[in-house]
Amino acid sequence: MLSLLTFPLGGVHPPESKKLTEGLSIEPMPVPDELEVILGQHIGAPCTPIVAKRADVKEGDIIGTVTKGLGVPLHAPAAGKIKDMGMSAHPMRTSAPSITITVDHEAVPAVYEKRDWEKLEPQELLAGVRDGGIIGIGGAGFPTHVKLSPPADNPINTLILNGAECEPYITADHRQMVECAGDIVEGAKILLKILGIQKCVIGIENNKPDAIAAMTKAAKEGSTSKYLIAVNALKVKYPQGSEKQLIQAVTGRKVPAFALPSAVGVVVQNVSTARAVYDAVGLGKPLCEKVVTISGKGIKRQANLLVKIGTKVSDIVAYLGGTVPGLTKVVMGGPMMGFAVSNLDVPVTKTTSAILFLTADEIDTRPHSQCIRCGWCLDACPMGLEPKEIGIYVEANRAEDTEPLGVFECFECGSCAYVCPAKRPLVQFIRLAKMKAKRK
C-alpha cells in the first residue's frame, strides 16, 4: 500500500468516537407530521416562497426560488399542505424564516425513474444540478452549480471528492460510501462531464477501510476511457477534510489565501453531494432528504438516519427513544466545528451532517483562564496563524486590529481551541475578531 496522503502544516488528532455509529446501516426515519423548511438553506440570499398558505404540495414541488444572486430552488420534502410561513429556530442565527408543511401521510409516494444522463449535454446536466436544489451538503452549503462553473481563465483538471469525514463522531458520509458507492461514482461521472475533464480523485481517511474498499471497487467498475476515477487513502488527521488541506494532500497544490480551489485547477465536492447530484440528474429526484448521524452518549439510540429536510430535532429525539440523563450539550454538526443548540425545535437543513447528544464526560465545560503563551495553538493551526495573539487582541478590546494576523484566513476548524490547555474559546474569539475587523 502507498503511504497515506496528508497535509503537512498543523492539525490534531482528537478521539475519533466513530465506533458508536460506523457499523449502523442508514435507516430511513418515518416522515414526521410536520416539517419546517428553512428558506435560507445555503450561502447567499434566502429563497422567496412561491406557494400560498393552505396550498397542497407534492413531494419535489418547488416551494421557493431565488430571484437574485447565488442560489437554488427549494423543494417540498414531502407531500402535504402549507401550514404557515413564519420563523423557525436556527442553530446559528437563532431564528430564520421558514415554510411549515403539514405532512399528508396518505399521499401516493413519489416515484423516480432512472434516466440516461449520458445523452444530455453538459449545460443540461448543469441545469439539472441547479434545479435539483443541490448545494454542498458536506457543510459549507455553497450552491454546487456555481462551483461547477469556474471562471474561464482558471482551467480545471481535477475533481476531488471529499470522503475524508475528519470530524469525530460523524459517519454519514462513511455509511453512504459503503452502501451507495455506485451512486457516488455515477455522480462523480456527471460532475466530470459537466466540467469537461477526465480525472477524479476520491480522498478517504484511512479509518474507514470498508468505505475505501467499496469505493475502490465502484471506482474501478465506473472508470472508462472517458472517466478516470481513483481512490486515495488519507492519513487520519483533523482537518483533513478541509478543502484547502485536502487539495494539498491529494495534489500537492496550495490554494492561495482568499482564492477558490479553481485557482489551482481543482473542484472539490463532498461524496454525499456527488450522490445527491446523481439523484437529481440520474433519477430526477430533487434534494429533499439527508443522511444525518445521530450520536453521542446522551441519546437512547445512536443511528445514521435518512431524514426529510425540515425534520425537527425533537422529532428525531422522540423517534430514537429520548435522551439519557446526563445529557449536557446538543451540537448540530461535528464536535469541532458544530454549533451548540439551546432549543430542540431546530429543523434539519441541507447542510446538517450530524446531531450530537453529548454527556459531561464527552465534553469539557471547565471555564477558561488566561493565555499562558504555551504556543500549542501555533503548532496546531493548519493555516499557520497565531490564534493566541488574536485571542489576546480580542480580550484587549482590539479585535478590529487583527486583520494583519490573518484572521480572515482562519476557517474555524477549532484545532487551536482543542489543544489549548487554558481551555480558551479561541474560535469564538476569532469569530468576534472577524466581525469587528470587517466592520472597521
Binding site: L9, K244, K254, V255, P256, A257, F258, A259, A263, S369, Q370, C371, I372, R373, C374, G375, L378, D379, C381, P382, M383, G384, L385, E386, K388, G406, E409, A422
Partner: protein, 315 residues
C-alpha cells in the same frame, strides 16, 4: 502542571541523599511559601485564587532547586514574595509575567544575600548519612566546580574533583557541590526527556542552549582555542536544569519554533560569556532572565509560516 512537578521529584529525592535532609526542608519551605504568597496575592488583588493549578508549586520547587543547600530557610520565604507577588501577580498573573518567577527569586537573593548565596554549599555526603546537618550548619567547607575552576584554574579543579570518567560519572549522577536541584544531570535529563516525550515541551530550547554552551565552551573555555571541555560545561552549574526546566517555561519563552532556537542560542552564549568573562562562576540564571523579556521581540521577528499567501502578494 502536575506532570512537571512529578518530573522534579526524582532530582529532589537524590538531592536529599547527596546533601542531606536540609534540602527537603528548604524545598518544603519554598513550596509552601510560594503557594501561600500566590493565594495571598490573588486575594489582595481581587482575583480568583488558582493555587490548585500547580504553577506556584512548580515555582516553589524550582526556586529551591537554584539556591544552595546550606542557606537559612528564611531565604526562600523572602524569595517567594519576590518571585510570586512582584514577579508574577503585580504584572497581571500567570501568562503576563515576563521574567521566570523562580529565577527572579534567585536573582533577588543573589543581590540581597550575596555571601550566603555564593558560599553556603555543602559537600556531598558519603554513606547516606542524610541527617548530618540537622541542628545547624557550622562550616562552609567547599565550593562549586565552576567557582573552583574560575578562581583557581583547572589544576585546582582536578585536585578537588578528579578527572576523566570518574569525575564525569560523579557529576552526571549529582555527587558534586551545587544548588539543591541542579546537580543530578541524569535525573534532570530523564525528567526533561519525559516532558518532551509527552509533548508538553519540545527539544528546540534545551538543544539550542546546551549545544551553544558546549560549542562555545569547547572553543573558548580552555587554555587555547578549541581545547575546552564541552561535556563538563554542560554537566556543571545549572545548565541542564536551566535548559530543561527554566528556559522553556511557557509564559516567558517565545512561542514560535524559530524564535525559540534564537532565544536558546542567546541564552547559551550569554551563559558562557558570564561563566568565562563575568563576575559570577555560573551565568545561566542571568542569561535566561536577560533573554526572557526579548521573547516577544523574537516572536515579532519570526512569524509562523502561513499556509499560502494571497494571490498577487499581500492584500
Amino acid at each position: 502542571m502536575w506532570t512537571v512537578v512529578a518530573c522534579l521529584v526524582p532530582p529532589l529525592i537524590i538531592s536529599v541523599f547527596i546533601f542531606g535532609i536540609q534540602t527537603l526542608i528548604i524545598t518544603a519551605v519554598s513550596v509552601v511559601s510560594c503557594v501561600a504568597v500566590e493565594a495571598a496575592s490573588q486575594k489582595l488583588l481581587g482575583r480568583e485564587v488558582t493555587i490548585k493549578d500547580g504553577s506556584a508549586v512548580i515555582t516553589g520547587m524550582l526556586l529551591a532547586f537554584v539556591i544552595p543547600p546550606g542557606v537559612s530557610p528564611l531565604l526562600p520565604i523572602l524569595a517567594a514574595v519576590m518571585a510570586i507577588y512582584i514577579g508574577k501577580h503585580i504584572l497581571g498573573g500567570i501568562g503576563y509575567n515576563f521574567f521566570n518567577p523562580a529565577l527572579l527569586g534567585r536573582a533577588f537573593l543573589l543581590a540581597t544575600f550575596p555571601v550566603a548565596m555564593t558560599s553556603a554549599w555543602l559537600p556531598p555526603l558519603q554513606n547516606g548519612s542524610i541527617m548530618k546537618y540537622i541542628g545547624g550548619i557550622d562550616a562552609v567547607t567547599t565550593a562549586t566546580p565552576l567557582a573552583v575552576m574560575k578562581e583557581h584554574g583547572m589544576a585546582a579543579f582536578t585536585k578537588a574533583f578528579g578527572s576523566g570518567g570518574d569525575m564525569y560519572l560523579h557529576f552526571f549522577l549529582g555527587w558534586r557541590p551545587g544548588c539543591i536541584g541542579e546537580t543530578s544531570g541524569l535525573l534532570i535529563l530523564l525528567g526533561g526527556l519525559f516532558l518532551i516525550y509527552k509533548g508538553y515541551t519540545t527539544w528546540h530550547i534545551p538543544v539550542s542552549i546546551l549545544g551553544t554552551i558546549a560549542l562555545l565552551s569547547w572553543a573558548f573555555g580552555g587554555k587555547g582555542y578549541f581545547t575546552g571541555d564541552p561535556l563538563l560545561a554542560v554537566l556543571s552549574g545549572g545548565a541542564l536544569l536551566g535548559a530543561f526546566f527554566m528556559a522553556n517555561d511557557y509564559v516567558t519563552c517565545p512561542t514560535n519554533k524559530r524564535s525559540q532556537i534564537v532565544y536558546g542560542i542567546g541564552i547559551g552564549a550569554l551563559t558562557v560569556l558570564i561563566r568565562l568573562k563575568g563576575g559570577y562562576p555560573e551565568g545561566i540564571c542571568y542569561a535566561i532572565l536577560l533573554m526572557n523579556p526579548l521573547s516577544p521581540v523574537f516572536d515579532g521577528w519570526f512569524k509562523p509560516k502561513r499556509f499560502a499567501p494571497p494571490q498577487g502578494g499581500a492584500k
